[in-house]
Symmetry: C2
Subunit: 457 residues, 2 copies
């Protein structure tokens, strides 16, 4: 088998035994990775196709890997698989300014694509904390979300076309470059968000947007959850397409930041029920800041919000975002944590925060429960630190969080996917009929079950 692979890729394209570095085993703390048979690092779609043909003929399982920044164990080997790393398929193939598209191989790092586009006056809207390691193929395969979804949608909305290789090596090249294409079934959606279980994404055409000319950021304190909802509705209406982010942090998170994150400097006083970080992406640098200031004054007059700070410099803007994104120093003091990424109808979020916090506190004395997230997208994250964080405790907290989500009609995964981490809970968000249809699709596209086995379904 290894010999056969060696005839497909070049000498540095195959790693075995001790040469398989930790990069290929990284599971971000979710379980222990198994030992793969080997790691293959192809450079072309044709090589990927040859590798899959061989695996298909032999019934050999295979896992496609991008930047390994996933959070649900979706790309971690369980043992005995071939790891197919797309890391050397890292070419930007075409930039089309008129059509506003970027065509790349799957292994291009997200941040590389960002910088390439920004130099040319455009933006690839998808953005997330792991931008320095995540790849285009990875964010497509997981349908990544991030902090600008309210304005630009998930990664799915930025993919115009893609090329994928099926389990049997068939190359499906759907490299569409148009906003409109209704010639038959839109096959790309099979491969977006299916975490490498239905095919391997090798190339893509991404839709670009004009780079916004002004960014304005504010940190807002609000006392009641209903007011947070009303504030979001107000901003959406007043700003239309210009609202880029609406990130909410429950009061307990603010307390946690003040107590455990000495390097962070909250811009508002403590004690509010909720803190909201908002960002507008506009096109009029001279007027946009005053516009946001005016809107904040208006809602303060109406008592919807109780305090607000507008970032006056890029440094202040970074400081605001750090409170939302860079609380690592505090998390490290909490001990083992269980983290969640869930979504629900926006009006259910207040209830969710209360029920989850109360239920965890009732079950575990001294627990720390923090709730925050991308409220504009219906997406919350929960961080729960309970004693040893043993597998038993982890399961108990899973049951609490996903149980509340099930009751509220939400989803056990907003943007991280299912992987191995959430597989046991898929039926808490999806019906038996939906899961049966997923299995039917899996069987049609991968009849031998060689693509990323043991993940998602």
């Amino acid at each position: 088998m290894i010999d056969a692979f060696a005839r497909i890729v070049d000498a540095t394209g195959i790693l075995t035994g001790g040469d398989i570095g930790p990069r290929y085993l990284n599971t971000r703390g979710h379980g222990v990775a198994g030992t793969p048979l080997c790691v293959l690092r192809p450079k072309t779609t044709a090589e990927v196709s040859e590798i899959l043909k061989l695996c298909h003929a032999r019934g050999q399982s295979i896992i496609a890997q991008g930047g390994m920044s996933g959070l649900v164990g979706g790309a971690a080997p369980l043992g005995g698989e071939v790891v197919l790393s797309l890391e050397r398929m890292n070419q930007i193939e075409e930039f089309d300014a008129e059509g506003r598209t970027l065509t790349t191989q799957a292994g291009v790092i997200l941040q590389t694509a960002h910088e390439y586009c920004e130099e040319r006056g455009f933006m690839l809207p998808l953005d997330l904390g792991a931008r320095g390691t995540a790849t285009i193929g990875g964010v497509i395969s997981t349908n990544a979300g991030g902090v600008r979804v309210i304005r630009y949608g998930m990664m799915r909305e930025s993919v115009l076309g893609l090329e994928a290789v099926l389990a049997d090596g068939t190359i499906i090249s759907s490299m569409n470059k148009m906003l409109k294409n209704n010639a038959g079934y839109d096959l790309k959606h099979l491969f977006i968000g299916s975490e490498g279980t239905l095919g391997v994404v090798t190339r893509a055409v991404c839709r670009l947007r004009p780079k916004p000319k002004s960014v304005n950021t504010a940190f807002v304190g609000i006392d009641h959850f209903d007011d947070v909802v009303a504030f979001l509705g107000f901003l959406e209406g007043a700003l239309g397409g210009e609202l880029g982010s609406f990130e909410v942090m429950w009061g307990a998170y603010d307390q946690f930041v003040r107590e455990r994150c000495p390097s962070l400097r909250p811009p508002l006083e403590s004690g509010h029920g909720f803190y909201v970080l908002i960002e507008t992406l506009g096109n009029d640098p001279t007027a946009d800041s005053a516009k946001l200031e005016g809107l904040l004054a208006e809602v303060m007059d109406r008592k919807l919000i109780v305090d607000a700070a507008l970032a006056q410099s890029e440094q202040q803007r970074a400081a605001f975002w750090a409170i939302r994104e860079n609380a690592g120093e505090g998390f490290r003091t909490l001990g083992p944590m269980c983290t969640y990424d869930v979504s629900m109808p926006i009006k259910a979020m207040g209830t969710f925060g209360i029920r989850v916090t109360d239920s965890i506190n009732a079950a575990f004395q001294g627990a720390t429960t923090l709730v925050l997230g991308h409220m504009g997208d219906g997406n919350l994250h929960v961080v729960a630190a309970v004693g040893s964080g043993s597998p038993e405790i982890h399961k108990q907290i899973n049951d609490i969080v996903y149980g509340v989500i099930r009751d509220l009609g939400g989803s056990i995964s907003a943007e991280h996917g299912i992987g191995t981490e959430k597989k046991d809970y898929l039926s808490w968000s999806r019906s038996a009929e939906e899961i049966a249809l997923m299995r039917a699709l899996k069987h049609t596209l991968d009849p031998k079950g060689i693509l990323n086995p043991g993940k998602v379904i």
Copy 2:
């Protein structure tokens, strides 16, 4: 069979023989419809499920019908099918202001949904000429486009969740209400744009947007195609998310309007190479008009555009749009027409217009060839009137238009779908591997081939 159906739907829910009115046979001029076995008009998803179970057991073909405004014969009976009209499933089920969603049955008329949302300060972005007859289920099944795609995307982007019934009667209820949901495969995309061949859409959750506070419309004259492309790029950059429409008409269309449409009043002088209708959807009624005027003055100084008129009233705005949309009186004088809906990379559009016009004129003396469309979306329409418009002539013109599209890497269907009308040409836009995968999906979801047979693939 009819008796069995009569036990599922109520007395007015079944039509046979002479009671089957022309509504159910309407093909908008594309071929002659066959005679269906009967028409069923269920009121609930459960009834649809029972009907499909029965059809599946008996191998009875069945066609779901919405408002019958499709343009490619996708919902026309070919003969012997059961017609499943969703017209009585016309309930608006839920409006969620906080979550900005509208939940409806599939048979709700698009315009009814528009008016319902607008009264509440929101908009369902999808809009097209057939809004008074097209249904929510129909625009989902065809993934309709229209005049605001550059800003809000196709119908697919406005569908958060849906419920569909499979060929065997299984109900797939994926009524997601969140912008983010990565819990397993996103099954809704199977049913969006597959023209009723993979399942019957019965209900949907649509994403709403805040209603724009200002609309500004301009008619612009431009001499060279490269300048049209540059003007689009300039507006996209300057207006960001506010550009709602960018509709281009080739000079020959302007001539046609002046000669054959006496009720239309072009606002600019004749003789320009291209006319562009632009519309911005903004949030500042006091400043947006002046902003657009300033941008137009800037590009006129730069000689990118040569003439422009800004609509000063709703009446003028309607008159501008009438030139683009209401040329029916002129079309009727042309005799039989072949019409096309194609997409291509934006920079290829200039070549497309020249090649198609020259090729048709070279093949047919006295032909009229008009090119116009949603340029911002890569979508052009072609109207060709050639003599008798016989099937042979129609095929010759198809071969010319789709041949140019194939050479330019475009799509034979931008927004109308495939139906029966474009089925023979699907392979001109999609590869053998893509079509084989479409067939595999069709076989998995509808193994007996009872759903809308003879359409798409």
